[in-house]
């Protein structure tokens, strides 16, 4: 019997918060992570305080007042345009895969993840190589075809260096987030709701638009939020395409502010705070949309869905899936492959000059690449495992504790709103001095990656936790298992598929990260993003392409292995 000497006073709080030694440890870990976010940023703000104040003035009447509004407008167009397109494509793909007879099953689940596995920097270069208005391989081929029909063009027909190019390529990288969230929601919504609509006289399309999608509104809101966050921090796409199109978006703009000498840290941090506010506003909006009681609940009973017969639409669905696959993975990879085999990038492919020299260079001659690969993959592994373990444990352990969850939500949502560049600079400032002098080591990268991917990990963990019925862990408690044992024997294994999805997301993000790596990585702690950037700045396209392909191959095989292993263990229990 545990008797609290201060009877009646601290009692309610103590027990209601569910504080056991284990949860205390969890809170401690979370507090450390919080410190990892707040300490560098706080330091950056303190350090740059005068600059920030000054930048407010320059925002009002200085040179920034002329550029910033355009940059913000561009950013809004790109991010919301991309999110809208991704919402359409992503939820449609999710619906096809979960509900229709055009489902591709396991393949269909993997498909939208392709975009995540090909690092955006590789994908966007692939697309630039394909759709450059003059030298694009695809444009070149198309022009040759059109020439046969007597249509002669010197440029085009497509121009990737345009607002459209920017929006569409950005949207390709937003689709996976929408897809993951929406299919998870669809798996939990009782298909009887849709069948009721069918017998109520509505066709499949109308049912989807009027019933299915509105019923999963919270999931849609969540995916919009994820999409906006990822769109805001996506750097490589606007960096590569925006320059050619002369369109500045905020992530590139902040990068440039910080890269200038002397660095304009003040304005950069001010703009970052603006981003933070925007994301917090969206969070509030999302909470309002997800008003309780009006949305599809997770039904406790098992159900089965009969796939919706799409008829001729089925081919349209297949076409969309194939098109998406082509757009995110196949075509850019083919483009990259072709370029990586050339001595220099040229649309007029001369097969006699194709060479493996670039692979040879990036893998063997460039001393940095191998250690960068090892570092990146190791870091990806550690960061993904650590973040999923912490956020997963937290989400599962506090599944029924609303207040704890809300606090964790706010905390883990924070890093998503901070541009990677800011994180890079803040980390240099914070960790090059006592008490933690780790600048130039792999540890500083580890900490930075942990912070940067925390939000993705937390979202994935939350949705994984939400899919487990509360009674399963309660049954374990009643069966005399401590909360720790309950977690490791019951909750974690059950949440595994969702956690694995999150793991993959974090892993791929870490391996493909470019921006903060540029700041924090050097010759002593090289990572892939850094080496890619070097090759981009000082080497040549074919080398960049070769390395991007190597990274893609490694990510794909690791992710494939991960899926294979977890699915195998999963199959035992569900067959």
């Amino acid at each position: 019997m545990s008797v609290n000497p201060k009877a009646g006073t601290g009692f309610s709080w103590w027990t209601r918060s569910g504080l056991t030694p284990f949860s205390l440890a969890l809170w401690l870990v979370l507090a450390l992570i919080a410190l990892l976010i707040i300490y560098p940023l706080g330091l950056a703000i303190v350090y740059e305080y005068d600059n920030i104040v000054a930048s407010f003035h320059s925002r009002l009447d200085g040179p920034l007042s002329r550029t910033v509004p355009t940059v913000i407008l561009n950013t809004l167009i790109v991010v919301f345009g991309a999110t809208t397109i991704a919402l359409l494509i992503g939820s449609f793909l999710a619906w096809i895969n979960e509900r229709s007879d055009a489902s591709l099953g396991f393949m269909g689940q993997l498909l939208p993840l392709c975009a995540l596995i090909v690092p955006p920097v590789a994908g966007v270069i692939g697309w630039a190589v394909l759709l450059d208005p003059r030298a694009g391989l695809a444009n070149f081929a198309l022009r040759n075809v059109l020439d046969v029909f007597g249509i002669t063009m010197r440029t085009g027909p497509f121009n990737i260096y345009s607002m459209w190019g920017l929006v569409i390529i950005t949207s390709l990288y937003t689709v996976p987030y929408v897809f993951l969230v929406v299919s998870a929601a669809l798996q939990r919504v009782d298909p009887a709701m849709e069948e009721a609509s069918r017998t109520g006289g509505a066709g499949p399309l109308k049912t989807m638009m009027r019933i299915t999608l509105p019923a999963i509104r919270p999931a849609l809101a969540a995916s919009v939020l994820l999409g906006v966050i990822s769109g805001l921090s996506l750097f490589s796409v606007p960096a590569v395409l925006g320059a050619g199109a002369r369109i500045d978006v905020i992530s590139v703009y902040i990068f440039r502010l910080l890269q200038a000498y002397p660095a304009q840290t003040g304005p950069a941090i001010t703009l970052s705070i603006g981003l933070l506010v925007l994301v917090q506003v969206l969070l509030v909006v999302q909470n309002m949309v997800a008003r309780p009681g009006r949305n599809a609940a997770i039904s406790g009973k098992g159900f089965r869905a009969t796939p919706v017969r799409l008829g001729k639409l089925r081919w349209f669905a297949y076409a969309l899936a194939v098109f998406y696959l082509l757009a995110t993975a196949v075509l850019p990879i083919l483009g990259l492959l072709l370029v990586s085999l050339q001595p220099f990038w040229t649309p007029a492919v001369n097969f006699s000059t194709l060479t493996l020299a670039n692979f040879n260079f990036v893998l063997f001659e460039n001393r940095q690449t191998v250690s960068a690969l090892i570092n990146s993959v190791t870091l990806g592994f550690i960061v993904a495992s650590f973040n999923m373990l912490v956020t997963g444990t937290f989400a599962l352990h506090f599944a029924r504790n609303g207040k704890a969850r809300k606090l964790a939500d706010i905390l883990t949502g924070l890093p998503a709103t901070i541009p990677h560049t800011v994180i890079g600079v803040a980390f240099i400032l914070a960790f090059s001095r006592e008490p933690l002098r780790i600048y130039g080591t792999t540890t500083i990268l580890l900490l930075a990656y942990i912070v940067m991917t925390l939000s993705y990990a937390a979202r994935a963990a939350a949705s994984a936790a939400a899919s487990i019925g509360g009674e399963l862990s309660e049954a374990s408690r009643v069966a005399k298992a401590s909360d720790l044992r309950t977690l490791f024997r019951i909750s974690l294994p059950l949440a595994m598929p969702g956690l694995v999805a999150g793991w993959i997301m974090v892993f791929v993000h870490t391996v493909g990260e470019v921006t903060a790596s540029a700041f924090l990585s050097g010759t002593h702690n090289p990572v892939i993003g850094r080496v890619l950037l070097d090759l981009w700045n000082f080497g040549n396209f074919p080398q960049v392409a070769a390395l991007a392909l190597v990274v893609t191959a490694i990510s794909t095989s690791l992710v494939g292995l991960m899926l294979y292993v977890t699915r195998r263990s999963q199959r035992v229990t569900t067959s």
């Binding site: 040179p63 002329r66 550029t67 450059d132 208005p133 003059r134 030298a135 694009g136 260096y161 960096a239 320059a243 050619g244 002369r246 440039r256 910080l258 890269q259 200038a260 000498y261 002397p262 660095a263 001595p343 220099f344 990038w345 040229t346 649309p347 007029a348 000059t353 600079v425 240099i428 400032l429 090059s432 001095r433 002098r437 600048y439 130039g440 540029a518 700041f519 050097g522 010759t523 070097d534 981009w536 700045n537 000082f538 080497g539 040549n540 396209f541």
Partner: protein, 304 residues
């Protein structure tokens, strides 16, 4: 060529190694450092980043008392001057060979190791007849096919556009602003010209062009006059952990051996180096003036 005193070599060997911060082509740096190691048995750690990232990093390290760099060897002349003025770079007078070095290629805090006059680069398939003058950038024939280094990317590019402004006036830049697109740096930009994505690049960097042309890229290059040159300058870091090795390395850069490596098919500050070229006429634009004019230039070129 001055003798390198034995005491300096001894002291440098006692340092054991040194770190060079640079933004110069890694292949070249590789060759230089191997030659140095072969000559003196001292290892060189090369930290290579783009000039602004490098500057940031150096400053951050300095601010937190973490200085790693011994030698700063970059094309960012303005940065060198600035840091020397702030006392972060030390005087280079007592580097062996300084006295003999040409006057125009040295200052109190910097030694110019090589010249990189800006060039005009074109795709020989798209511009078969070639180019000779900066003015041709605005030739209507090439509208939309010209790619320029983003004026905002560095002070040296500020200097280049200031020169154009001084030569041809407001209208020229305004027209150029509507006529061309921008690349964040020369390396990807010249590759786009090689690929035929664009016809003309300016201001070009000779080493990048020769590298691509060696692979068969259809690139042509000329050095219009007047031009400005982005020079490879070396400085000694004041708080260098390996001050003697640093001094030895800079001295080494001034030797014939290093000059031959550094300026192959390029432009050397001293006479008589094999495989070097004749310098075009250079105008001197002070970095401070260039920065002062940058606002106006951005505006003219439609960047603000």
């Amino acid at each position: 060529q001055a003798e390198i005193p034995a005491e300096l070599v001894e002291a440098a060997k006692a340092d054991g190694s040194l770190t060079v911060y640079t933004n110069i082509d890694p292949a070249l740096m590789e060759k230089l450092s191997s030659a140095f190691t072969a000559a003196h048995g001292i290892n060189v750690d090369i930290q290579r980043q783009s000039s602004s990232a490098l500057a940031q990093r150096f400053m951050a390290e300095n601010d937190t008392d973490n200085t790693i760099a011994d030698v700063y060897y970059s094309t960012d002349r303005a940065f060198h001057d600035d840091l020397f003025a702030k006392g972060l770079f030390s005087k280079v007078e007592d580097v062996p060979g300084y006295a003999q070095w040409p006057e125009e290629a040295k200052s109190e805090g910097t030694i110019t190791i090589g010249y990189n006059p800006y060039s005009l680069v074109w795709n020989t398939d798209l511009v078969p007849e070639g180019l000779t003058s900066w003015e041709q950038l605005n030739d209507p024939e090439f509208e939309g096919q010209v790619i320029l280094t983003d004026p905002r990317s560095s002070v040296t590019s500020n200097q280049f556009y200031k020169m154009l402004h001084d030569l041809y006036g407001d209208e020229f830049l305004e027209k150029l602003g509507t006529h061309a697109t921008y690349s964040p740096s020369a390396v990807p930009g010249i590759q786009q010209v090689a690929a035929g994505a664009q016809a003309i690049y300016a201001p070009g960097i000779h080493q990048v062009v020769t590298g691509l042309a060696a692979n068969g890229a259809p690139l042509g290059e000329s050095f219009p006059e007047p031009s400005i040159s982005s020079n490879n300058v070396a400085s000694l870091v004041a708080k260098a952990p390996h001050a003697d090795a640093a001094k030895l390395f800079v001295a080494f850069l001034m030797t014939r051996e290093a000059q031959t490596i550094n300026n192959f098919d390029g432009f050397a500050p001293i006479e008589g180096i094999e495989n070097t070229r004749e310098m075009p006429q250079i105008v001197n634009i002070e970095p401070a003036d260039a920065m002062a004019a940058s606002e106006k230039i951005y505006q003219l070129m439609g960047l603000q």
